[in-house]
């Protein structure tokens, strides 16, 4: 097996394991947030393997470097603990559900095998910042403008929600 396939499985396994660690972690919220960072970084690695370099850099920078830091700020400022337990009972249903998910997810490669063709060779400049910039500012320029308005609305909304009193 070539090195990129091995790396893909390593990153995929790391992403799934840290996602499980985040969801099933009951005691420590900060450790859950750090597991989320590991998931983001390994997904960024998978993006690099899939030749999407700029999106990988932005994923790690924005998701792993800003969004999860925001989570950590809120957790640390409010000193949030996760002393909760999932509702007791229904253990059999949860176990059955988990097993069903594992079976279905592992059957996907077998069921979909042969539907999709081989991965073609990427054209030059694919995934680079130049091609992405051209696509963003010629085909999708309206989308960029709308998203910037959405960001402005989100900034104003978050500021107002977090203020102690509106003066």
């Amino acid at each position: 097996m070539e090195i990129s396939a091995v790396l893909f499985y390593v990153f995929a396994g790391l992403a799934v394991i840290s996602a499980l660690a985040m969801v099933l972690n009951v005691r420590n919220t900060v450790a859950a947030a750090m597991s989320l960072v590991v998931t983001m970084v390994s997904i960024g690695g998978i993006f690099v393997l899939l030749d999407a370099y700029l999106v990988a850099a932005l994923q790690i920078m924005v998701y792993g470097g800003a969004i999860v830091v925001l989570f950590l700020f809120v957790v640390m400022l409010l000193n949030l603990r996760t002393d909760d337990f999932p509702p007791v009972g229904l253990r059999l249903a949860k176990l059955g559900g988990g097993l069903l998910v594992v079976v279905v997810v592992s059957a996907i490669p077998r069921l979909l095998g042969g539907v999709f063709p081989e991965i073609p060779a990427a054209p030059t400049g694919y995934g680079g910042y130049r091609a992405l910039g051209i696509a963003l500012y010629t085909d999708y320029v309206l989308l960029v403008e709308m998203v910037s308005l959405l960001l402005l609305a989100a900034i104003v909304g978050a500021l107002i929600l977090a203020k102690r009193k509106i003066d």
Binding site: V23, T29, V74, T82, D84, I119, L132, D139, A154, I160
Partner: protein, 106 residues
């Protein structure tokens, strides 16, 4: 490089873990983080599919990656506003257990 079905399987696995997190956990912070996980799973699928159809030589098609950029941006906005809501909730009732937010329940 692995066949594309494995990328889809990874995306499905991460998505179901995220859904499980939203359904099982009672803490609002973990629910918000699970929503981020779901959005990431969708990003993985989008990038994988974009790699399958990258356009011809001299005219690469980056639609999937543009979508992923927009998803990342929208996720950032949603996290900011969601955490604002969480802070307000914490200030009012001093806990982030969503089982206690049931005033509208009949």
């Amino acid at each position: 490089m692995v066949p594309i079905e494995h990328v889809i399987a990874l995306s499905a696995a991460l998505f179901t873990i995220g859904v499980g997190g939203v359904l099982i956990r009672r803490n609002l912070i973990v629910i918000l983080m699970s929503i981020e996980l779901m959005l990431n799973a969708v990003n993985v699928a989008l990038i994988g599919f974009n790699r399958m159809w990258p356009g011809i030589e001299g005219a690469p098609r980056m639609d999937g990656q543009v979508f992923v950029l927009m998803v990342i941006t929208v996720a950032a906005c949603e996290v900011a506003v969601g955490l604002g809501i969480l802070i307000s909730m914490f200030r009012n009732r001093d806990s982030v257990n969503i089982d206690e937010v049931n005033l509208l329940k009949w």
